[in-house]
Symmetry: C2
Subunit: 240 residues, 2 copies
Amino acid sequence: MWAELRLGPYLWPMVESRTHAIIVSGGSGKRMGTDTPKQFLLLEGVPVLVHTLSIFHSFDPSINIVLVLPPDSIEHWMALCKHYSVDIPHTIAEGGSERFYSVQNGLKSIGDSEGLVAIHDGVRPLVSRDTLRRCLEAAKLTGAAIPVLEVTDSLRFCNENKSKALNRKDYVTVQTPQCFSLSAIREAYNCSYNPIFTDDASVFEAKGASVQLVDGNLENIKITKPGDIELAEFFLRRRI
Amino acid sequence: MWAELRLGPYLWPMVESRTHAIIVSGGSGKRMGTDTPKQFLLLEGVPVLVHTLSIFHSFDPSINIVLVLPPDSIEHWMALCKHYSVDIPHTIAEGGSERFYSVQNGLKSIGDSEGLVAIHDGVRPLVSRDTLRRCLEAAKLTGAAIPVLEVTDSLRFCNENKSKALNRKDYVTVQTPQCFSLSAIREAYNCSYNPIFTDDASVFEAKGASVQLVDGNLENIKITKPGDIELAEFFLRRRI
């Protein structure tokens, strides 16, 4: 013990900070028209969430994965892990009533003070390793990076009163993983919830900081609607 | 001849105005990384454009289809029609350097002064008959209707100087067919080209008129990128 402590100060400068992944999975099954929360639906015979965790683990087996789940789903997830022989190391944090609180809980559960963190939607099982690498590399340089795609259809603003054509070239759609310096995003999340927080980048920017946009991958869909599972299976098969 | 003319005034009030479809197909193959313009790529063994025309024809066999093609593609299209035994009645108009001019030429080629017109991208072979029906019915009531989808990913404004998170619920993506009263859209297109015209609805609105938003269909993708053909084939197979 003492020897280890003595070695510490000499080893520390050689040790790179760990990379963390917070996989946010707070959804219910309502939008899919099913009783099974979408993160547990089977994709090629395996729960969506297992695919998602596998990507992060295979990208970097030393990554520290924190899975945020609704409290009433944790037992079910443990049973699924046993049934599907999931041997991906991860810890579990409890989700909150809004995605904001779930991420906040995930961040609180990480003991480290330095390193990078990738915050990712559990229902995006098709993020590519290239997207993850691009985001982490950019976040390492700039402190914050998110994957985006250009808008291919025309885009229009609309609310109850008006509707107005926009130039789609001025807009991008935003995916996850949204990657940050752990200490910086932790500081950003040290605030009260605000409905204008649409994703982690918007929380980060609320402090006046800016995020780097990097290329996402088209297949990185969010499984939310009926038919999305078949679409994800199509993308999976095409990738092979 | 005389008899026909005499019958005319009595018959006219009984005859519904025809419905027209302008299928705009001006693209080159550049974005697909192929030499074949995307409208001529094979989808389940048949050119994309044949699928598109088939939908309009099967929806309403009496629809007046005007196909707008780049002048240097017309001969090739005629050869394809022969090769694939295409027996869908349609007329051909020459495309221009911008989509705006192509639609303008399509409108000029229609002799009628009344009726409805559906303006559709040739490279959207997966528009559903339901979408087409919804748009035409709404346009009949309001003068102008376009199919839209809600934005599922986060959305962000970005230009060279800044990037800003938006509330995706205030935005929709816009597809085609964009449907109008023929006389009203003809009047709207009687103007000079402006780069702010991103679609037909934006030309229509430039005169102060407004358009009705109706539900589009998710599969109604625009074939523009490599991989889109396989995705369209997946959607086609799922529909069967």
